[in-house]
Amino acid sequence: MNPNKADSYIPAVMKTSLDLPPLWGRLSFLSPLDAELVSHFELPAGRTLALTFELGRASFEDIRARIKKAARDADGYYNYALVFLDPGQTALLKAAIAELSPR
């Protein structure tokens, strides 16, 4: 987590299962194929998540991703490397990122 940008990262709701209440964190990196998420909630590598967040004018709901790698930082926060699973959803993400990128 880059200290200078910590509170400007994108807040996101993380659903881990239908039975459990959702958790939350911040997306510290986002590309059409993968992302990095910072949260103080602990989750194991390999777990599948559904992420809900806003990007510019677009809202994304239940974007499915798998935790590829989990690492705990010195403060006790977890940094998760995520891979998006649904090609249809990644196409929408790509369009939103392209819209926000400087031309």
């Binding site: 987590m1 200290p3 200078n4 910590a6 509170d7 807040p11 996101a12 709701v13 993380m14 209440p21 959702p22 958790l23 939350w24 911040r26 103080h40 809900t52 967040f53 806003e54 010195a74 403060d75 006790g76 926060y77």
Partner: protein, 379 residues
Amino acid sequence: MFNTVQIICASEKNRLILRGIFKNLGADAVFSNDLNDALAVFEKARPAAVFLADGEEPPAEIQLRELRRVAPFIPLLVLLKRRDATRAVELMKLGALDCAQSPWTEEELRPLYRKALNLSGTAIELDSLALRRGRRSLAAALALFLGFAGFAGGLYYGFKRYSPHAQQPHSFYLPYAHPTGIIIKKDSVLISDWYSQALYEHNPKTFGIKKVTSLTDVTPVALAASQDSLWLAGTNGVIERRLLDAGYTRASKTAAFKPTPDSACFDGLYFWTADSRTGAITKRMPGDSLEELKAYKYPGQKLAALTCDTRFLWAADPGLRSVVKLSLDDPERIISKTQLPQYSSRTLKITALAAKDGLLWFAGEDGDRALAFYTDEPK
């Protein structure tokens, strides 16, 4: 590490839980009842982060907005009363760094506390390439600067060493012998004396007397001031509220309190009295009757005089030879003890104390003379 955190929480029960948690985390926690209370002490407390309890008045959204207006870069964390990810994300969009779920535990709050403390301040990375490029001119400038600084330092040292200079005194002998109360006004220091039954108004720089007001029907033992009133405690246990006009006209008076208070102060919200003989500290409503809210036992060795500001209670303790800082929320907890060098005089008896603008003012008797002095407020 700078570890002061401010916690905005009205519930006494939750404060108790949070006090224990933050103590275990090693934080210096400053509690505030609500947003107004928090903003009033914000400047003085200078917290590294602010934690606010959700579900109180005003709502967390308003508290976040106002706190960000006052301190845009301070980490703000919301303590949710239940696990609600949608609300957490909404609050994070409004400026919260993160939200903690209920139940609040040390394990839950530790990462948030650590992250918040690591985020406060601004990290700077130097562009070393540009630095290398300008190294030669920098070295020349540095040598020039050092030469000039050495010359200026020598000149300054010589001037300080060999020129006589007037020192601003921090201690003043008083032309009366039995001071009992002290309050600091904008441009004067007001001291009561029980023997001469008078209020003396002094110039704060020279301590020359500007005005004397005779108190024919009161023998004053303590003084306190609020924004628009002067409070005068008498030997009979009655506390009078007087107007801040030329003659200090009496506006109201209380019933006689037992034990007779000999220290009084107003923290901006509550009125406090103390009795040095029993060590009893009493929190009161600031109305005309000064109704008692709660009584506490002074936690130090011997209470000589007590005062307060908007953040702390301060006590002079001859047993500990110290100034003792107490929490306004829990006066039975000592925050710090700081040795007072003036207590090296075995005959010094401090009878009055006042706190204002980062200074602590003392009045008392030393042998057969009375004196007033001030020190910087201890950390």
